[in-house]
């Protein structure tokens, strides 16, 4: 069993969070509020050090890169949101951010998520028979799903069975996503159990 006070505190807080599985209780609430408070304090410190100190105070006031002060002033405009009468001033900062972000994102996303993906959907004609079948299945699935989301015409006649095949492919996607999500959640539980039984109780070996 661990003699590290930090491990003991973490173990007790883990059990406090687990107690919610029985029913809501004050011990759980304490642990929850403690987590929120500690996280807020940690992030405030990190952001202040990384953004305000390292990116503004050091370059502007210590290294004399005065041009960067405009970025700092733009950031300060955000604080005008706190007053209803002056909140319109903060929109200048938001507008700048939205425009800069759009400039970053739109061309890159179009390339990576639309053009390259569309290219990847077109079936390959080389490789093993399985990769060719797989490529055709992907293309059929994509087309059927696109037709399922095509609402300009009523889904009847040819469109009806095609859109139903689209639903089938969507279900496959959701099923895979659900399976992975379960795996993720169980892994979080495994992680806590490994901590409790390994780091705290010493029942299992630490790898």
């Amino acid at each position: 069993m661990s003699v590290d006070p930090g491990v003991w505190i973490a173990a007790i807080l883990t059990l406090a969070i687990f107690s919610f599985l029985y029913k809501d209780n004050p011990v759980y609430k304490f642990a929850e509020h403690l987590l929120v408070g500690v996280s807020a304090g940690y992030y405030l410190t990190q952001y202040t050090f990384s953004a305000v100190y390292k990116k503004l105070i050091v370059p502007v006031f210590l290294n004399g890169e005065w041009i960067l002060i405009f970025g700092g002033l733009l950031g300060l405009l955000m604080f005008f949101r706190m007053n209803r009468k002056t909140e319109w001033i903060s929109r200048y900062a938001i507008a700048f951010y939205v425009v800069a972000w759009s400039g970053y994102v739109i061309p890159s996303i179009l390339q990576a998520r639309v053009l390259v993906q569309a290219q990847g959907t077109i079936p390959v004609t080389t490789g093993s028979i399985f990769s060719i079948i797989n490529a055709w299945l992907i293309m059929i699935g994509v087309l059927c799903i696109l037709i399922y989301f095509y609402f300009s015409m009523e889904h009847k006649g040819v469109l009806l069975p095609v859109s139903q095949v689209g639903i089938f492919f969507l279900m496959l996607g959701f099923g895979a996503s659900f399976g992975y999500t379960i795996m993720g959640r169980i892994t979080l539980l495994i992680g806590r159990f490994q901590f409790l039984m390994g780091d705290w109780l010493g029942i299992i070996e630490k790898l």
Binding site: Y42, K54, V116, S177, L189, I190, Q194, I204
Partner: protein
């Protein structure tokens, strides 16, 4: 499963109605046991490797001693259980091959995670900070950081995490942008792997691999299929596969027994719930 309907007449309760109304605390206890017991008494279920994990391994394994890789810890303590095994094995694999690592994080909460893993693995292999690896730390604005790293690492990070000028480190003497880095590795709990692929990969042609949480893995497959991400690990299973390829027994491999039993238990619960539902409906129609 819904709560037990205590207002229902006792006489109407059958095994099928009881199956539909198992107390959730019994289910929680069963899941806890299905996870705890295999950790204490490992079953040793085989780990079959998938294409994406083999591709991840191959990208790492084909690098030569002295090559520099960039490793981004794009996660925080909430997903350590899934992603720590990937990070640990990647660092062990890299140091075993004498690769040099430039580490950073795109999350404010990732610095503590990164420092713990670097300290542990560097200690195991006797690696020296500044020569074999460096930690640049957290930089606000991940989008700007990813783009600017393509122009200059030293301009983006004038100092390392601890305030020492970046240009003073031997590892950064001949390395200052993506073009000088053989491989980018992002172990991520969010869409950051995608953005690395879009900006570092799409704009600068940087080859990259990623490790992802299970929830995120489904979204990474299209990038893997189009070779925008050259290999990836999905969740704890991906970590276990990579461990088996590298030949290291880690938390991923050990966790897979518990993962499998918990999944089997859930399938059993789903089956029982459905059997109860069908039988109840049949009784009512009769």
């Amino acid at each position: 499963m819904r709560e037990l309907d205590t207002s229902a007449p006792i006489a109407k309760r059958t095994i099928w109605t009881r199956l539909m109304a198992v107390d959730r605390r019994i289910i929680f206890l069963a899941v806890a046991l299905s996870v705890a017991l295999p950790l204490i008494y490992p079953i040793g279920l085989p780990v079959k490797t998938a294409n994406e994990s083999r591709a991840y391994f191959k990208e790492m394994d084909q690098l030569n001693a002295g090559d520099v890789i960039m490793f981004s810890f794009d996660y925080e303590p909430d997903t350590m259980a899934e992603l720590d095994p990937m990070s640990l094995t990647t660092w062990r694999h890299a140091f075993r091959k004498d690769l040099k690592i430039i580490a950073l994080t795109m999350y404010a909460g990732g610095t503590g995670v990164a420092e713990r893993i670097m300290r542990q693995v560097a200690g195991e292999y006797g690696k020296v900070y500044g020569e074999d690896y460096i930690f640049l730390g957290y930089n606000p604005d991940w989008s700007g950081t990813m783009l600017r790293l393509g122009e200059s690492i030293k301009a983006t990070y004038p100092t390392d995490q601890y305030g020492t000028p970046s240009e003073s480190f031997p590892i950064l003497q001949h390395v200052d942008r993506y073009g000088h880095i053989k491989l980018l590795v992002s172990v991520s709990a969010s869409a950051l792997s995608e953005y690395w692929a879009i900006w570092a990969g799409g704009k600068y042609g940087q080859r990259m691999i990623s490790g992802n949480t299970a929830v995120q893995a489904v979204l990474i497959y299209p990038y893997f299929q189009t070779d925008q991400i050259s290999g990836f690990l999905g969740g704890l299973k991906g970590a276990a596969e990579y461990e088996s390829l590298v030949g290291i027994k880690g938390e991923g491999t050990r966790g897979m027994d518990a993962q499998s039993t918990a999944h089997a238990l859930m399938v059993l619960f789903i089956l029982l719930g459905n059997v109860g539902y069908v039988m109840n409906r049949r009784r009512r129609t009769q």
